[in-house]
Symmetry: C2
Subunit: 206 residues, 2 copies
Amino acid sequence: MRIAELSRQSDVPVATIKYYLREGLLPQGELTSPNQAHYDERHLRRLRLVRALVEIGRLPIAAIRDLLAGLDTPRPDLHEALGRALAATSGPRGDIDAAASGEIAALIERRGWAIHPDTPAARAAAEAVAALRALGAGGLVKGIDGYAEAAELIAAQDLALIKDRQDAETTVLEAVVGTIIGDTLIVALRRMAQESASAAIFGRRP
Amino acid sequence: MRIAELSRQSDVPVATIKYYLREGLLPQGELTSPNQAHYDERHLRRLRLVRALVEIGRLPIAAIRDLLAGLDTPRPDLHEALGRALAATSGPRGDIDAAASGEIAALIERRGWAIHPDTPAARAAAEAVAALRALGAGGLVKGIDGYAEAAELIAAQDLALIKDRQDAETTVLEAVVGTIIGDTLIVALRRMAQESASAAIFGRRP
């Protein structure tokens, strides 16, 4: 199909598709004449993935490029792809507050989590804790074990669904998409549960 | 203090502070001469909040402006501010897939949540479900009740911490900051719990 048809089927404007092509998020089409290219189902699938990562996952372009590079290796590795997703969604960070890092290290020990306290996610958690304190909302950090328990439930669910899969490519795609888009779903479910709990406590809807 | 000192204390570049001033995210300083303004502690606190919402919460500028407008009303209302946070973080959405909306409405009923199925969070959840399906990761949706149960744990923790507060302004700030920055914390905890669960299942670290 031509770019206009790709745009129609994906509901992504032609200008945006050209931008993704320039940024290397979408492989070039096959040239059928000097200024006309042909696209196929593979482009359509990739385009839908990119759009979801941008619009729903709200990932920066550079992070998406990194993620896709992981998916495009000849034999994608689940751990490698998840590691890239972790790094992409945690983002590059500067110095982390030492007290907050210590609290996260203590949390990892209390929960018995088999992870290194310097993993990007642990640094991101420490950054969030430091920000909550700096903004006068440190009271919420007292409940961190409750949040960690909920995170364990979520992760058990994540892994249970993933480990049943046979096909490596589907597994990697589910892991990456489920991690990024799944964040949006979990945040939305948290909002709904908050609204319901708030109605129960305060007697009216927010 | 002058803008240079505000920049030093907040660790936000002067050019960024000027941008926030132009965008109305930070109130203007008091003019001490035609091209010099004076800033105080209130500006410093607000600047830290804006930076956290941009850098950690990754909220768009327009969403932050809406949130701050809610905080700046004479007597901020918890429900109003939470409602604004909900709308700001769910974002404006287009048409939602009818099947996905129906599934979320059924989930709300199964969980007994006292919310309207057309609330922005429900629409955001339906959008995430539709995206997971469209991207071939629909298997994850089968576990949505597990995610909802975790969301209930999180919301109970959120509300328990908030309802103990006396002072309205602190309550509103904690609700807003805890909602936005708390999302980042929960996502980071999910990553850590995933890494740990993945190590247990696959026998090595991602």
